[in-house]
């Protein structure tokens, strides 16, 4: 049963946990990120919807998260973890969900976060882009388009 998996996540991984109808939000330590993913996959979370990140500039941290879905139980879980903003690195989930490699590639390009074990980390959307990682909070687009009008 899915709720029990969430119980496990909460206890074994000391995850913080909130719930809103079918969506559950779990926060875990970086060390538990991969194991939490594995546990979910083994418990019917067949689909990975996305891997993404949030730049918490003021706290000098990135939040890396993934969203998965269990079709049998109709439960979505978002698992997130915090990592430092300097040399951000985290394990790739591509050995668990095949499609995560492509999502991680996007996060790598837009935020500059490296996913260990992901062999796909090459530019995805941008071609010959030399500027900062575009989704970083300290890259001000409005200033940039004024300075370098294209």
């Amino acid at each position: 049963m899915a709720p029990s998996v969430l119980e496990v996540l909460k206890q074994e991984f000391q995850g913080e946990y909130t719930r809103e109808k079918v969506f559950s939000f779990v926060k875990v330590q970086k060390e538990k990120y991969f194991d939490a993913a594995k546990l979910l996959r083994e418990n019917g979370f067949e689909r990975l919807l996305t891997v993404s990140a949030i730049d918490w500039l003021d706290e000098n941290e990135f939040e890396v998260y993934f969203l998965v879905y269990n079709p049998a139980e109709n439960v979505y879980v978002k698992v997130s973890t915090r990592i430092p903003r300097e040399n951000p690195e985290i394990q790739s989930l591509s050995s668990i969900w095949e499609n995560s490699a492509m999502h991680e590639r996007e996060v790598w390009e837009l935020f500059g976060i490296t996913f260990e074990g992901n062999t796909m980390l090459k530019p995805l959307f941008l071609e010959g882009w030399k500027g900062p990682h575009p989704f970083l909070k300290d890259f001000d687009w409005r200033k940039y388009v004024k300075e370098f009008p294209m």
Partner: protein
């Protein structure tokens, strides 16, 4: 094709609209502004709300009686109507006049005096025929469509029977070397610009360039994206600009007539000139490693069947060995653009993520915002949203049927399906005021009520559409040639679909019974009866058939919704904790996810608020990212090269969605 179908087509009235039109089709369409200078008090609220900085307040009058009035730049305006909504004096209004066609970007700036004049279409007067050559050229343009952005969606009707470009002697051409006119369909990124310049150089002289929409001229809605080309003229000449976001098909027709007249009077196009910024804008050459006997071919981004997206194929003989998608031509960075706009202003941005099915993006965003704000909208609003979403699904599926027709070389289907799509767009326009980008939803409600005669209009169209679906069956689904071109092609097994996160009709056609509308009903789907269409075929045929059946289901959903729709408030201002929703109000701290079933599959918005009036982070999980970038290469493996377009469109891509 059965004899019956053929007979019906010959005996019925032509689908093509008359041209030039006196006026667009409905009164509610959002077109050019009209300013009442008497009423305007110069408060500047319109300038403040405009998400695109299209409005600037300018001063008028003598020294001590100076007053300011809005001036609108149509190189930026996206016709969202937020300025109209906020104007306290009803001084600034949107008329339904769509014709803004100019020869230079300066003419797009409308000062208050010009805005005050009632809009009027001046029909171009054809010049005297001077030379037979010029006349002949002007009557036989070969047009290279480069569907760079969303505006292509309004150029597409010109291929369908509604507008029918061929009556002007125009022919759509894939090859630049055989084209006279380059039609740039909207938004341009750096990556796209490289390809545009290459295409432009390959065209023979005289060559003419027409741009659609605000984006190529002035960046449009995406003016503050790091990836936007804000002024195409810096890099190459442009002859005619059609403003709009996207422009309607009618102004495109006007531009065509203007171009024909100019060429007939001897206009030879602007001088050829290309600025590649010292090689920075050269198309990079791709070094693909190849083994003996293999060769690689690119598909897109300007292939007639690709959309603005490309894939490198490695072939062995005539079969696909591997496929490597190369997305990003439409990457605007929507998620970060949203961080610069207020929760309210973002209502005009979100549907642009996928031009093919904007309504679902509105619903997904608005649903998430309303969860964050803690506002409960009336049931009438929910019904209206359901109706909007389903009509939008129908037109999206019809577009796909046309594309499949194109990919299978079955031109009749393109023309009929896209001609029928016009009728659904008309319904959407009557309901929302927009054909493509409805901008119908606001946090707490919708912007207008159901028009009085909408139920009857819908009934008429439903009757017609059901008849047409029969025709589609006769033309396509029971047609052995169409069967031969789509069956057992591009097989996507059900377990693979789940594993690779493919959803929507693509997964349902592989037997995966998942539909967000049933699994976690939103709006009023729990009160409406409908079937989840599935099939076990797993091939291109089943995917297309699945969409055809969903059109039928959607028609019944709308019919049912129109019967059941209760009364109720259109806008609920009061949210949780005494919060009153307004265009500038902040939302409480928190995060939320809201998923809906879009025409292409599951679509979720993840919104994070840190208590400000703009999102801290918005993440859009669109349906095509996995179905195209991850699953498609696998589906295409070992297929014959000639089947690529069919399989590709059977997966129903929207490049704008995965690039965001």
């Amino acid at each position: 094709m059965s004899f019956y179908a053929e007979f019906r087509m010959l005996s019925e009235k032509a689908m093509t609209f008359n041209f030039p039109p006196e006026m667009p089709l409905t009164e509610v369409f959002r077109g050019r502004h009209v300013l009442d200078m008497e009423k305007c008090v110069g408060c500047g609220l319109c300038e403040k709300i405009c998400p695109n900085l299209a409005i600037t307040m300018v001063e008028r009058g003598e020294a001590d009686e100076k007053r300011s009035y809005p001036q609108v730049d149509y190189g930026k305006c996206c016709f969202c109507g937020l300025c109209e909504d906020i104007c306290p004096r009803e001084a600034l209004k949107l008329s339904h006049f769509p014709f803004i066609v100019v020869l230079g970007r300066d003419a797009l700036v409308y000062p208050p005096e010009k805005l005050a004049e009632p809009p009027k279409l001046e029909h171009p007067v054809p010049p005297k025929i001077k030379g037979i050559t010029n006349w002949a050229i002007s009557r036989s343009f070969w047009v290279n469509f480069f569907f760079t952005g969303c505006c292509f969606i309004e150029a597409a009707p010109w291929v369908g029977s509604g507008f029918d470009m061929e009556r002007f002697g125009m022919l759509a051409k894939g090859s630049p070397r055989h084209s006279d006119v380059l039609l740039i369909g909207g938004y341009v990124t750096v990556k796209t610009l490289r390809r545009i310049l290459r295409i432009y150089e390959q065209m023979p002289c005289p060559k003419y360039v027409i741009t659609l929409g605000c984006c190529p001229v002035n960046g449009g809605t995406y003016w503050d994206s790091y990836n936007t080309i804000n002024n195409l003229e810096k890099y190459m000449p442009v002859d005619i600009m059609i403003a709009g976001c996207p422009p309607r098909p009618e102004p495109i027709g006007l531009a065509v007539v203007l171009a024909m007249n100019a060429v007939q009077s001897g206009y030879m196009g602007k001088e050829e000139k290309v600025n590649k910024e010292e090689g920075f804008l050269e198309v990079p050459s791709v070094e693909e490693s190849r083994e003996e006997g293999e060769y690689s071919i690119p598909f897109g981004p300007q292939h007639p069947a690709s959309g603005n997206f490309d894939v490198y194929f490695k072939l062995e003989g005539e079969h696909v060995k591997s496929a490597r998608p190369n997305p990003g031509y439409l990457h605007r960075g929507f998620e970060k653009l949203m961080e610069y706009r207020t929760w309210w202003q973002n209502i005009m941005l979100v549907q642009r993520v996928c031009v093919l099915d904007g309504a679902s993006y509105e619903l997904s965003y608005i649903g998430a915002v309303e969860k964050l704000a803690g506002v409960e909208v009336s049931r009438r609003v929910k019904y209206l949203r359901t109706i909007q979403a389903e009509l939008c699904r129908i037109q999206s599926h019809l577009l796909n049927l046309g594309l499949i027709g194109g990919a299978t070389g079955f031109d009749t289907m393109v023309r009929i399906a896209w001609g029928d799509r016009e009728r659904i767009l008309l319904l959407l326009e009557k309901l929302t005021g927009g054909r493509i980008y409805h901008i119908y939803n606001i946090p707490g409600g919708v912007r207008r009520d159901l028009p009085s005669n909408f139920k009857d209009d819908f009934k008429k169209e439903m009757k017609y559409m059901l008849k047409q679906l029969d025709l589609y069956d006769n033309l396509c689904f029971n047609n052995p040639v169409f069967n031969g071109r789509t069956k057992e092609l591009g097989v996507l097994p059900g377990d693979m679909a789940v594993r690779l996160d493919v959803t929507g009709p693509n997964a349902r056609a592989s037997g995966v019974r998942f539909d967000v509308r049933k699994a976690s009903p939103y709006e009023t789907y729990d009160e409406l009866e409908f079937n989840v269409v599935t099939s076990e075929g797993s091939d291109a045929y089943s995917r297309v058939l699945c969409r055809r059946k969903e059109i039928e289901e959607s028609l019944y959903i709308v019919e049912n919704a129109l019967e059941k729709i209760p009364g109720g408030k259109l806008f609920e201002r009061n949210a949780k904790g005494g919060l009153r929703l307004s265009p500038f109000s902040p939302l409480p701290k928190g995060e939320t996810i809201h998923c809906v079933e879009s025409a292409r599959g599951e679509l979720c918005f993840h919104l994070v608020s840190n208590g400000k009036n703009t999102p801290y982070r918005a993440k859009i999980r669109g349906p095509t990212f996995d179905s195209i970038l991850v699953a498609m290469p696998k589906v295409l493996e070992d297929e014959h090269v000639a089947e690529i377009p069919v399989i590709y469109w059977s997966l129903d891509n929207c490049p704008a969605d995965h690039d965001r």
